[in-house]
Symmetry: C2
Subunit: 99 residues, 2 copies
């Protein structure tokens, strides 16, 4: 199991647009084979800072996400909303041992 | 629902000790009332860097975690393993709307 923690800084005037795009991406992503979690988080102190917490059963399942139509639509939709390039950090999930 | 993302840098010689202590904390924490997730992650590129992803149904449930015997034991056990002070960042969970 692997997780990518994606850090996103959004232009303040596009916070609502970003949340709307993420909702659509979330709803489709959780239906993917191998998806374990696809949590959309908003920093409690900095509302223009978001985290996407994306857990998959395998590297292959995580890579397949990048080829889905909903991911590609999200990527293109949110591009103008970004205040800076987003950063994804890969992690191994140690516990739980299975989800 | 709220999530705390805790960033932990461990002394390399104590990685295995830290993982063992986290397993015990994980196993007890997921049984707490209001706990939604308690994922223990290891950075894929920096094995001495960990993330604890702790989601609770409410602020009260998250605070109650800090008073449990397993949290207090974990805190004291891992203190000498830390390479630097850990940092917890609070987030609101936007999606899923319920877990």
């Amino acid at each position: 199991m692997i997780t990518t923690i994606v850090h996103v800084y959004v232009k303040p005037e596009h916070i609502d647009d970003f949340v709307k795009a993420c909702q659509a991406n979330h709803e489709a992503s959780v239906k993917e084979a191998g998806n374990l979690r696809f949590d959309i988080l908003q920093d409690a102190n900095y509302p223009a800072k978001f985290v996407l917490y994306e857990a998959y059963s395998s590297e292959e399942a995580a890579l397949a996400h990048r080829e889905t139509s909903h991911y590609l639509k999200w990527r293109d939709t949110v591009a103008p909303f970004m205040a800076q390039s987003r950063e994804g950090v890969k992690h191994k999930i140690l516990f739980p041992k299975s989800v």
